[in-house]
């Protein structure tokens, strides 16, 4: 079987990008999307052309490093599947697949299918944790957590930070990502003391980064490889409203977004 890959090629943010088509032979149905790109890259290198840059690492759907649009859908057509686990048996002979990077104002472009998702790290820096220094913990079983609560927390904690939710959202909102962390920590007893403050700061950071507002479209959860439920956004809004009212702060200090790669300062 053969497919036509039409891929966004752009050397860097300063140059013009364009789509380039490549016919590729698919060895068998068990081959993954990324393995197909590997094969294409081998032939490109042999022909003296530049291989396609794409992010990937674990190739088992858990690290969150990989991800691009296939025919306009983040991570392609299969539900609950990252592109590294998207096998070629789901495509037809002769089909054209259009591969594009995540497009969002908050994810600046790097090369070909690679974008910069450091904004997600800064959202976590803005309170996406429980403040407990090493050594000061009590015995694990002293904090009973009902099974249902633990399961709910785990559902939200399963987020892999890939950015598909943002890419899929017409508003470029990061509400599903941010809500997932707020929900994971906020429903556990360990996370309660910082519940209000956490939501207020993380939402402020999300806004500073240039992510859009959530209008409850639900495309995010539809493409999410871990099927993070939309309810986490309700939890985020709840905690944010309550937190903003309790804190009554005029100004929330956000972390300045960084888009260059010099690693100077601080």
């Amino acid at each position: 079987m053969r497919v036509k890959l039409t891929i966004w090629r752009q050397k860097n943010p300063a140059t013009q990008g364009k789509f380039v088509s490549y016919p590729v032979e698919v060895a068998n149905g068990e081959m993954s999307m990324l393995e197909l790109l590997d094969v294409l890259n081998e032939t490109l290198i042999e022909k003296g052309e530049d291989p396609i840059a794409f992010d990937h690492d674990c190739r088992e759907g858990i690290c969150g490093m990989c991800g691009f649009m296939i025919n306009g859908v983040a991570h392609g057509p299969m539900p609950a599947t990252t592109i590294c686990q998207l096998t070629m048996r789901h495509f037809k002979d002769g089909e054209e697949l259009v591969l594009e990077p995540w497009r969002s104002a908050a994810f600046s472009f790097v090369k070909d299918l690679v974008v910069d998702r450091r904004a997600f790290d800064r959202i976590i820096q803005a309170g996406g944790y429980i403040s407990i220094s090493t050594g000061s913990a009590q015995d694990g079983n002293n904090i009973p957590v009902g099974k249902e609560i633990a399961d709910r927390a785990m559902d939200a904690a399963a987020c892999i930070g890939c950015g598909a939710c943002v890419a899929a959202c017409p508003n470029g909102s990061a509400a599903l990502f941010t809500g997932a962390k707020i929900a994971h920590l906020g429903i556990l007893p360990q996370g309660k003391p910082e519940e209000d403050h956490r939501a207020v700061r993380m939402v402020a950071q999300m806004n500073v980064e240039g992510f859009g507002s959530c209008t409850n479209i639900g495309e995010c959860t539809g493409v999410c490889p871990k099927e993070i439920p939309l309810e986490v956004i309700a939890k985020m809004n709840h905690d944010y409203l309550l937190g903003a009212w309790k804190e009554r702060k005029e100004v929330i200090n956000a972390i300045a977004p960084v888009t260059d790669w010099t690693f100077e300062g601080k």
């Binding site: 197909l36 490093m65 090493t134 904090i143 360990q190």
Partner: protein, 645 residues
Amino acid sequence: MTGEVTMPIQLDARIPTGPIEQAWDNARFEMKLVNPANKRRHNLIVVGSGLAGGSAAATLGELGYNVKCFCFQDSPRRAHSIAAQGGINAAKNYQNDGDSIYRLFYDTVKGGDFRAREGNVYRLAQNSVHIIDQCVAQGVPFAREYGGTLDNRSFGGAQVSRTFYARGQTGQQLLLGAYQALERQVDSGQVTMIPRTEMLDLIVVDGQARGIVTRNLITGKLGVHLADAVILATGGYGNVYYLSTNAKGSNATAIWRAHKRGALFANPCFTQIHPTCIPVSGDYQSKLTLMSESLRNDGRIWVPKQKGDKRKPDQIPEDERDYYLERKYPAFGNLVPRDVASRNSKAVCDEGRGVGETGLGVYLDFSDAISRLGVETIRERYGNLFDMYQRITDEDPYKVPMRIYPAMHYTMGGLWVDYQLQSTIPGLFVLGEANFSDHGANRLGASALMQGLSDGYFIIPYTIGNYLASAKPKPVKLSDPAAQAALAATEQGVAKLLSIKGKRTVDSFHRELGKIMWDDCGMSRNAKGLEEAIGKIRALREEYWQNVNVPGSGDDLNQSLEKAGRVADFFELGELMCIDALERNESCGGHFREEYQTPDGEAQRDDEHFSYVAAWGWTGPGNPPELNKEPLEFAYVHPSQRSYK
């Protein structure tokens, strides 16, 4: 091998004397401290952001040190610890089933086939209980009983239930705990996170590790970062084999280049082949996918009794199936340690009884567990693993048995470290899978997460202070000749790779190297194969430096160039692995030399001649490496033939 270039190093492991139960307490008391005001005057470098590196950077930041933490991915949350599925061991004895710190210690020393240091392993077992407490406090959503207490499951090599888990994503959740602690320190300004940057050399000034040379993977710019000590937590070298369960980016470059600057490399041939992975399906295959060992709690492993039986599994009647692990090892059954399970899978496949199209596979069957516990319970326990299996193979493991085969998974060897996790270069500390210290010749399941977090949260914070307070590193400048020489050498190395412009891609060389390693230095080894492998690796390496084609330039994101440097190091490391395997004329744990086996095919150790850590020194390109030995002593767990029968 004799040391023509340098004298063998006297290895001092600095293991505390006295009763093992008090050794770590005593050692901590004797360690020097750095007072809080002075901590902020010390700069530390942590390379790697997985469980070991992430937890170390976070904890050192909490203590008040200035930390720079590096990772090659776009975010520290991507480190490959994230892929660990099954769980983390801890001697909590919450199940009241006979567990204790001593038992975890005993199981780990025995599981490692008596090739680990007792002192290190005992400390690991002690720290295990603190790790669980710390992670719970961070909000790691461990599985719970209905009453709200922590749940446990069983893992290979143990007869108690001591494994804590978060569905099949325990590594992910523990890593996110460490990552969040790390980001909290980034927010406070104590840690500077430097992603998309890889370490290409170690800077040694006056015999002390004082910094690293890095390459910014986006801009291609080389840089020098200086510090008072350097901590490597860069994971294992399983990708020498090309096909492994490791992430594609996992590499040995940081530890290998530190080795070339004088850090000894210990037990390189101790590698772990994981018994339960999805079998290889084609030549294009880029990695192998693990199916958690936890599946062996409820899955039963079998092959047909008859050779070449091509019937579908449900058409093979019960009495024509061979549940070979249950038959050979009635006491541990399907939960024998990984090395034993892997070797037995290979043996039945070699007999021609393997299943699937390639004949390289065995069944892992859940039908009994499903009829005993119901589909829902099985879905709850392993749902995400079953889904992953189905996505890849297009078969439904709720209905058809899984097909599994062993794959390269973990490396017990690594840079030699003493009890304080310091390498043979003062000021260079090595944590997690990157060091060799705790698992001997075979690691038990759910112990990698334990070791990474023990090293990062609970050991390095003490030992680094001791080093800084005793060694008192002097100020060092960017203009230091050693720093500038390392930078220049790195520049030349990158330019050399880009200048060859030969005919073959980096991946094609890597695949070929991996095949040599898997065939001759994999699940079983023999002297003839190893000698041949060394020759083949040398020839292939020679070709590499003449004929590799690294496209593009060094001044932007160039993923082929990143791989090219890593594969160059894998050639040298692969050769050392074969030399080590050839030198160790015994079988132990994951190192199975065909010449040394018991009449019933089990590993035959030779304690009289090989009860030591083999720590190899680099003596220059083309020169034979130099062997240093650290003898192992067992005062508590007396070496015996491992029996899981």
